[in-house]
């Protein structure tokens, strides 16, 4: 049985309340942390090898150590709870069920970073989770874990929840900061990075919900112990949101290094493919990461079993690998149309592009239109090559990673499933079951 660090006691009735959470060992890590020096906490996080759980996988301790220290300027910690990567629903689950874990993590992390005001930026759509968090925050104030002079340490912290209002791009850290400043969620041009100039031009750290929650076990067990879990540089546990054509969709906490095959087929996790069908493809880390056909997701190019870890999933580069990303694991069975699914993803990125920079603004819509043309039976071989060319002209040329996120699914689908695209082009009469009622955009139709 895998170790549970974040989802421990998740099924205990009332674990979302202060009383039950504390009865099951909650806030012990905070009490320990408040007896430490901020620098010692940062050191423990560094030792733990904890990496950002939002998608990029950047070492958290290192990110924290970049925070600038200009005299007299406040620091801010923002929790990125704008979970909107398609296929990912772990943060919502965690906040809904164990809000105090996030709050405890926020207090410890704010203390480590010297932040006296911190924000949880949550998706506006998740209003009911916002209410859960606000209630838990009030409980934490009442218990003396928030407010002035926390646990007699002299450390003050105010924690607020800030709602978004429907924009995937606000999951990008500088788009999120802009949004929190009350502006359009246009990502900023870097440098300067948030650690130097972030919220209101002050040094700021933005961390994902799961990352901040993971700080709690890191402190309670110590960085070295945490680093023993997992494999290589992929330390600790990771929440995987499993969905698509599997028997048991849901949020699973795995020790990094679990074989992908075991994750898909074991009854402890996904329980195999629904209806006993064959697995066709997997998007392993949220819709942005490259899609892999079943043989490549189960085995690395060298024929070794593929593991659920940052390194193993990216083994083979983009030629034959993918990324762990946010842990949004989308399984597709043999009945799935890769082209149709890709069109849907491309439509998503087209809809969510902020429109600031030209390659993303113009390119995402163009790709969607070309795919639509192919899907409706009007495509040519040239269109497949055109798609390939457009994605290449978006990737890496944009202000923020949304351009890459829009390009990678297209590139990987063509790379691994070109034959299927050609089938759509060569035998348009065979295209059945292609329904198209979505308007290209539900914003002003032009």
């Amino acid at each position: 049985m895998a170790r549970k660090l974040l989802l421990e006691n998740i099924d205990v009735p009332g674990i979302n309340s202060m009383e039950a959470y504390r009865a099951h060992g909650g806030y012990a890590a905070l009490e320990k942390a408040m007896r430490m020096k901020p620098a010692e906490i940062v050191e423990e996080v560094k030792k733990s090898g904890l990496r950002g759980r939002g998608g990029a996988g950047f070492p958290t301790g290192m990110k924290w150590s970049f925070i600038a220290n200009p005299p007299g300027v406040p620091h801010y910690l923002i929790c990125n709870a704008d979970e909107s990567e398609p296929g990912t629903f772990k943060d919502r689950f965690l906040m809904q069920r164990k809000p105090h874990l996030l709050i405890e993590g926020m207090i410890i992390s704010s203390f480590a970073l010297g932040a006296n005001t911190s924000y949880i930026y949550i998706r506006g759509e998740m209003l009911y989770v916002l209410h859960i968090l606000e209630k838990a925050i009030q409980e934490a104030y009442d218990a003396g874990y928030l407010g002035k002079n926390i646990l007699g340490s002299g450390f003050d912290l105010d924690l607020y929840v800030h709602p978004g209002a429907g924009a995937y791009i606000c999951g990008e850290e500088t788009g999120l900061i802009e949004s929190l400043e009350g502006k359009r969620g246009n990502p900023r041009i870097k440098p300067p990075f948030p650690a130097v100039k972030g919220l209101w031009d002050c040094p700021t750290v933005v961390n994902n919900v799961e990352t901040i929650a993971a700080v709690v076990p890191v402190i309670s067990m110590g960085g070295d112990e945490y680093a023993k879990i997992g494999i290589g540089k992929s330390t600790g546990t990771k929440l995987i949101s499993a969905c698509g054509h599997i028997n048991k969709p849901g949020v699973y906490e795995i020790e990094l290094g679990l074989p992908v095959e075991e994750f898909i087929y074991s009854d402890q996790y996904c329980g195999g493919i629904r209806g006993g069908r064959k697995l066709k493809a997997v998007v392993a880390g949220g819709s942005s990461v490259p899609i892999l056909p079943s043989d490549l997701i189960l085995k690395t190019p060298k024929g070794e079993p593929r593991l659920m870890s940052y390194e193993s999933l990216s083994d083979g580069g983009f030629q034959s690998g993918t990324m762990l990303g946010s842990g949004g694991f989308i399984a597709m069975d043999e009945t799935t149309s890769i082209v149709k699914n890709l069109w849907n993803f491309t439509r998503f990125y087209h809809h969510e592009s902020c429109g600031q920079c030209s390659p993303c603004r113009e390119g995402t819509g163009w790709m969607e239109k070309v795919l639509h043309k192919i899907l409706t039976g009007h495509g040519t071989i040239k269109d497949i090559d055109l798609l390939w060319d457009i994605q290449g002209k978006i990737e890496g040329k944009t202000i923020c990673p949304l351009g890459d996120a829009a390009a990678w699914p297209v590139a990987s689908a063509i790379r691994h499933f070109r034959a299927e695209f050609e089938e759509y082009v060569k035998n348009p009469s065979k295209i059945k079951d292609v329904k198209h009622y979505y308007r290209l955009h539900d914003m002003p139709v032009i």
Binding site: P74, E83, S84, E85, P86, G87, T88, F89, D91, R92, T117, R123, G124, E125, M126, L127, Y128, D158, Y160, H162, P163, G164, A165, G166, A167, Y168, S179, L180, E181, G182, K183, R184, G185, W200, S241, A242, C243, G244, H245, P249, G250, V251, V283, S287, G328, I330, M332, T336, N341, N344, F345, F348, H351, E352, K435, Y437, Y438, R439, D442, M443
Partner: protein
């Protein structure tokens, strides 16, 4: 023009909501009240019939001490803000990949047929508006939709019949996100 002026006069948050607005504004450092724009627009949308008219946005601008154009720019950026009138009950069906794999397409088709409207439209009786939205982070329970604050998951056509029936009976609490009663209950 006259109508607009008289409409403008009536646009004012009730006292309890105003208290909440000021409490939200206090969450941000002095001079950074613009930050309160998203939560306050949510409240305004809930208070003023589920959508943001330009007089409502001008009112929000005056509360936050910013230019009206700053509010228009922000409100038009985020997909949760309705810039046109909506029905009493806004149905938002997730249309993104994972839900699509699990049949969201059929859910939308069924709703369109059942309500007799297309996506983006409102029923003639003003009861329902049907919208499709992007991933609501509920992919494990796909297909799903949101009505007001509530997530309806693992949808089937039979389930939809039941849900629509419920809302037909009682739309009071489901005007939109950030329903009015929430504001009041929080103050109490």
């Amino acid at each position: 023009m006259h109508d607009l002026m008289s409409e403008k006069k009536n646009i004012k948050f009730p006292e309890d909501a105003l208290v909440l607005v000021h409490r939200i504004m206090a969450r941000y450092p002095p001079g950074r009240q613009k930050s309160a724009i998203l939560p306050v627009l949510h409240l305004a949308q809930a208070e003023f019939d589920g959508w943001l008219s330009s007089p409502v946005m001008d009112y929000v601008a005056s509360l936050l001490g910013i230019k009206p154009i700053e509010v228009y720019e922000v409100a038009s950026f985020y997909s949760m803000f309705n810039l046109k009138p909506v029905g009493k009950c806004v149905i938002e069906v997730c249309r993104t990949g994972p839900c699509w794999l699990m049949g969201a397409e059929d859910i939308v088709t069924y709703l369109e047929k059942k309500l007799g409207i297309k996506t983006g439209e409102t029923t003639p009786d003003g009861m329902f508006t049907l919208k499709t939205v992007e991933c609501l982070a509920s992919c494990g329970t796909a297909p799903m939709m949101q009505v007001g604050e509530k997530y309806h998951e693992n949808l089937t056509c039979e389930k939809l019949d039941e849900i629509l029936g419920e809302y037909r009976k009682n739309t009071e609490d489901h005007i939109s996100h950030w329903a009015k009663d929430k504001i009041k209950s929080k103050e109490a």
